[in-house]
């Protein structure tokens, strides 16, 4: 085992964030309760610091620690998205936690550790690393979901998430153990060689592959493993919901893609059918069940299941097109989801979060700005043209057509037309009705900045996507050591 300095250099962003996260936990008792937001600012600077370190690694392809950990343009892109999402989450959470009276210093520490877990996930070149990354992220998220210790709903959501998450992790691990038993290796590239010629052990490889897929489907909340999503999204504090729904999902898609394209590409005939099933089921469940929801967080949870359905379509065919489509989708999805949850957490009725769709009725009369921003996010999530969500869907469906799945693209378009109804229902409530009860919308500077960035990016990705397209095109390389 050699520990050459390049291993340390390549994992510098993760090391920074882990050390600074530990520091944050140590500093927490010494910071007076009124100055807790300083810890948030500290966390933002840690993330910026790590982002600079990641930019230093741009364009390189390094298999580190004998291929256990892979730094390549693909993982650097996902890490950048994770940093951006976490920074925006912190901007939203500074005032929100004050208002909800759950402003604990540990919050930022857990957020940083969850980000490290996601970074490890997208860089994993080995199933051990991958498992540790997934668990680091999940354990932090279980705690964050239950942050409102005195709220029945928050703790119940946390418990449900924990139970189903641990259950899915056990199934995932059993799959890994079968793969290890068949192939004798845990690295993705070693698995890829074995999967191409499994001989008599094919059933064992297939069983392992299906069980790992269950684990991933759970993490990206694709049907039929989506049961936890609406409950957890509804019960969790809204900032945490936004974080899980956007950043957590992006990271899970990154690792899903890497494992299935690198390790199981030889088995594509077998898993493509499973992916198609998951895609269709998620699109149906996400778009149809969302129609009857009255709680907007729950509605967005079903919307996120539907979006998982569109995004898994891009996993079907390992090609440059599909890779680009998935990365663009994740980039656009991050900003529109975070922004939509941001509006929900700022909007308050008599000091309580406005979580019901009825709270949005007539919002335009009272707060045209809030209504307009929500319109941007809703239209973008629905995939209506001038916004980022439209282009994202367009690229995914084009990739499906190029791969010969035209019928699947047609199904997707039809179901997203069904889905557009419930997004537009929110917009109609805001613009075409008179307000019933007054709601307050008073973003402070931090929240204003976060909303500006998310809304701005959602619009820019739709009307002027070229710089982002170029950036993603330089990140299209997945390194297979």
């Amino acid at each position: 085992m050699n520990f050459s300095p390049v291993n340390i250099m390549g994992t510098m962003p993760e090391i920074y964030l882990t050390v600074l996260g530990c520091l944050l936990f140590l500093m927490e008792p010494f910071v007076p309760a009124k100055k807790r937001s300083l810890l948030g600012v500290f966390a933002i600077f840690s993330l910026v610091f790590a982002m600079i370190a990641t930019f230093g690694l741009n364009g390189k392809g390094l298999p580190l620690y004998q291929g256990l950990y892979i730094v390549d343009p693909f993982s650097n892109f996902f890490k950048t998205v994770i940093y951006l999402g976490t920074i925006i989450t912190i901007l939203f959470s500074l005032p929100y936690l004050e208002k909800e009276e759950i402003h604990l210093g540990e919050y930022y520490g857990f957020l940083l550790f969850a980000a490290v877990g996601m970074m490890i996930m997208v860089s994993a070149g080995d199933l051990i690393t991958l498992f540790l990354g997934i668990e680091l992220m999940s354990l932090c998220l279980y705690v964050l979901v239950g942050l409102k210790r005195n709220s029945n709903r928050s703790v119940e959501a946390s418990f449900k998430y924990f139970l189903l998450g641990a259950f899915a992790a056990a199934i995932f691990l059993y799959g890994i153990s079968l793969l290890y038993g068949a192939s004798g290796t845990e690295t993705l590239s070693g698995l890829a060689q074995f999967v191409a010629n499994p001989g008599a052990l094919r059933p064992m490889v297939l069983a392992g592959m299906i069980l790992t897929m269950v684990g991933f489907a759970f993490k990206v909340s694709a049907a039929p493993f989506h049961m936890w999503t609406p409950d957890v999204y509804e019960g969790a504090p809204t900032v945490v919901t936004g974080f899980m729904a956007s950043v957590g999902k992006v990271a899970a898609f990154g690792v899903f893609l890497r494992v299935f394209w690198v390790a199981f590409s030889a088995n594509r005939d077998h898993w493509s059918l499973l992916i198609i099933t998951a895609a269709i089921l998620s699109m149906i469940v996400g778009n149809i069940v969302a129609l009857v929801q009255t709680n907007i967080k729950r509605m967005l949870a079903y919307s996120s299941i539907g979006h998982a359905g569109y995004a898994v379509i891009a996993l079907l065919n390992p090609s440059r097109d599909s890779l680009f489509a998935l990365m663009f989708y994740m980039f656009a999805y991050l900003f529109m989801t975070l922004g939509a949850f941001g509006i929900i957490l700022i909007l308050r009725r008599k000091g309580i979060e406005a979580e019901e769709i009825s709270d949005f009725v007539g919002l335009n009369k009272k707060n045209p700005m809030a209504a307009f921003l929500m319109l941007i996010f809703m239209f973008s999530l629905a995939g209506i043209p001038p916004f980022g969500g439209f282009l994202a869907k367009f690229y995914v469906f084009m990739a499906a057509v190029h791969a010969g799945y035209t019928w699947l693209a047609v199904v997707g378009v039809l179901l997203s037309a069904v889905g557009a109804y419930y997004y537009i229902r929110v917009v109609m409530a805001m613009y075409m009705k008179d307000p019933v009860e007054p709601v307050e919308f008073m973003p402070n500077r931090m929240e204003g900045m976060a909303l500006f960035v998310t809304a701005g990016m959602t619009v820019l990705l739709g009307v002027f996507p070229l710089p982002f397209v170029h950036y993603i095109e330089t990140s299209l390389a997945i390194l297979v050591p």
Binding site: A170, Y180, G181, D231, E234, G235
Partner: protein, 100 residues
């Protein structure tokens, strides 16, 4: 020597026991134990394969699984305690504020 298939069969039986337990038991502590049984089934698999294939990495994985399982139980019990304080019940069916 005990053949590999016995270990794999034992592991599969334990895994199914845990899986069924999670699905049918209503006591949350028992459900947590069932998840632990599933994780230990995985450990048996790893150790058996590692011994059979003469490769060490399976046993290294077991250490990681044990560590993560410990962390998971710590957090799980913490959540269960705060849930019990609010509800005074360990029955899963009482946790129905969020409709499933």
């Amino acid at each position: 020597m005990v053949p590999l298939s016995w270990y794999v069969a034992l592991s599969a039986m334990m895994f199914v026991t845990g899986l069924v337990g999670v699905l049918i038991r209503r006591n949350i502590v028992v459900v947590l134990l069932c998840i632990e049984i599933m994780l230990n089934a995985v450990n048996i698999n790893f150790v058996a394969f590692s011994d059979y294939l003469h490769l060490i990495d399976g046993q290294i994985f077991v250490f990681f699984v044990i560590t993560v399982a410990a962390a998971e139980v710590a957090i799980g019990l913490g959540i269960i305690i705060s849930l019990f304080r609010l509800r005074e019940s360990v029955n899963m069916d009482d946790y129905n504020l969020l409709k499933l």
